[in-house]
């Protein structure tokens, strides 16, 4: 018989809930079998900690006197988008500083705000009868402004490609530094710990699901941009490349730099490590079948990033067991591998979330609406107005 979220939450309340992380469940199922696991385990905690460029924060600065309608905003010389109401702005993680270029960006501003550092706010406006001020320069912290919430349109990829470089020279990509002649392979998924790989058909993870977001309790607000659930899947439900994504939201003021870090990929730009943990309720035996997935059962393609086209060739499929071993084989040659997403941090988050649930600090939610299982994946083609009419 299945379990409901309400029943699990009752167990959290009474302190009798049984929680394992997504690594522990593998051995548990192997030892006790699917039936017993479904009965005995209530929640499995999944997590990931990797660079997620499609992230940023909405800020409301409060009104100065006299007030201003900000049309252009800079935070520590990083431009923020201000095409909203008077003192609202969105700072994107990948935005670069106008004075320091690739050495500092929106991600650093977000990290500085979380750590409580003063951030320089500069803004200009054109002046109106209701907003007479035309410029302002001041310092803010997260505690001196009204709201600061992270709103990330695409996080937590359900699997991602591995990257290599067949060309004769080193290339610098968002997948890291790729050495010439298949000199290395990089990859970016928490594999067996990753949230959407443990619930591949989104049976329990959906819009409205409460999650661990960079140390705070946040929510899944929508399916993410480029959500691509139609990707080819294995019998265990896991896709063989980038597939589903989620958009997430949470209070920046409650976050910790332990679980959110600015980062720089040389030659590519600024990005942001985001730590996300999602509890998966063990609602039935079918859920256990998905949750038992291990690195060796999850495959991805190694893509040649030296090809400067939208469609890049594949150099073969590998599983995360092979990737995590430190070496894979391409065309008969042994190639060193390295992860961009931190398994150590993901495991830490899965354990923090486990403790929060056990200690009655984190309750599970039913989703409000499911993530779509069908969604077109559209490319941008260059067309004239006539071709579209």
């Amino acid at each position: 018989m299945g379990k409901t979220i309400e029943e699990i939450n009752e167990k959290i309340k009474s302190g009798s809930v049984v929680v394992l992380n997504a690594e522990e469940i593998i051995e548990y199922v192997a030892e006790k079998g699917v039936k017993r696991t479904a009965k005995e385990v209530d929640v499995v905690t999944t997590a990931t900690f990797g660079p997620m460029c499609s992230s940023g924060a909405f800020l409301n600065f409060g009104h100065p006197d006299p007030p201003i309608k900000m049309t252009k905003v800079w935070l520590n010389d990083v431009p923020a988008y201000a095409g909203l109401a008077a003192v609202d702005a969105y700072i994107g993680a990948a935005e670069l500083s106008e004075t320091e270029g690739m050495k500092y960006g929106g991600a650093h501003v977000i990290e500085d705000l979380i750590s409580g550092k003063p951030v320089k706010l500069r803004a200009i406006g054109y002046g109106t009868d209701c907003y007479p001020r035309k410029e302002i320069e001041t310092y803010i912290t997260k505690d001196t402004i009204n709201q600061a919430f992270l709103f990330n349109p695409r996080n937590c990829y359900q699997n991602y490609y591995a990257a290599t470089n067949s060309s004769g020279k080193t290339i610098y990509t968002y997948m890291g530094k790729l050495l010439p002649n298949f000199g290395n392979v990089t990859y970016s998924s928490a594999g067996q710990l990753s949230p959407l790989l443990n619930d591949p058909y989104y049976r329990t993870i959906g819009m409205g699901t409460r999650i661990f977001l960079a140390g705070s309790q946040g929510y899944i607000s929508w399916y993410g941009t480029q959500h691509n659930p139609g990707r080819e899947r294995l019998a265990n439900g896991t896709p063989c490349g980038s597939a589903g994504t989620i958009a997430v939201i949470g209070n920046l003021k409650e976050m910790s730099t332990e679980y959110l870090r600015a980062c720089i990929f040389q030659g590519y730009g600024v990005s942001i490590f985001i730590g996300i943990g999602i509890p998966i309720p063990v609602i039935d035996e079918e859920m256990v079948e998905f949750l038992r997935v291990k690195d060796e059962d999850i495959y991805t393609e190694i893509i040649d990033y030296s090809v400067k086209r939208r469609n890049r060739p594949s150099c073969g499929k590998v599983n995360y067991g092979q990737l995590r071993s430190g070496k894979v084989t391409i065309n008969g040659k042994s190639v060193q591998t390295g992860s961009i997403s931190s398994y150590f941090k993901a495991l830490e988050i899965s354990n923090v979330l486990k403790d929060e649930i056990k200690n009655g600090k984190f309750y599970l939610t039913n989703f409000v609406a499911p993530l779509p299982l069908e969604e077109p994946y559209i490319n941008l083609d260059i067309l004239s107005r006539e071709e579209l009419q």
């Binding site: 870090r261 990929f265 490590f273 042994s334 390295g338 992860s339 931190s342 150590f344 941090k345």
Partner: protein
């Protein structure tokens, strides 16, 4: 007589050439291979200390460059900043001698100084700038 410590990178196609032999024979240099990692189908790396006349050493460096060997001055030390590091392991894909590895059990980054040949390939690959040269 002067001494110079260099990091030599050998591309795959010349790994088999008797390059160090010619350093002795043609440039009359004394050399000491401090660390080396040369494996088939891979780029080779060598940390070498050359001793000899300045002109001879300059000539040898020129010869090496012409052969296709990348020559870099050896920096003093590589350090990893534990507070900055997020233990992702991206650097482990770059580290040819596997001085940088993720520990199997703890999943944390381990740096084995004895294996490091100071090639500095890792320096610009760390996303959180946790790897630095200590001069």
């Amino acid at each position: 007589m002067i001494k110079r410590k260099l990091v030599l990178s050998f591309p795959e196609n010349i790994v088999t050439k008797p390059i160090t032999y010619r350093l002795v024979k043609e440039f009359n240099l004394e050399f000491n291979i401090l660390r080396a990692e040369i494996t088939p189908n891979m780029e080779g790396k060598m940390l070498i200390e050359l001793k000899g006349d300045k002109a001879q050493i300059d000539g040898a460096v020129k010869y090496l460059s012409q052969t296709g060997v990348t020559v870099q001055e050896a920096a003093k030390d590589i350090i990893t900043d534990k507070n900055q590091c997020v233990d992702c392991g991206l650097c482990t894909s770059i580290c040819i001698t596997q001085a940088l590895v993720l520990d199997d059990k703890s999943h944390k980054l381990k740096f084995n100084k004895d294996k490091c040949i100071l090639c500095e390939l890792c320096l610009d690959c760390c996303p959180v700038s946790a790897i630095k040269v200590h001069i």
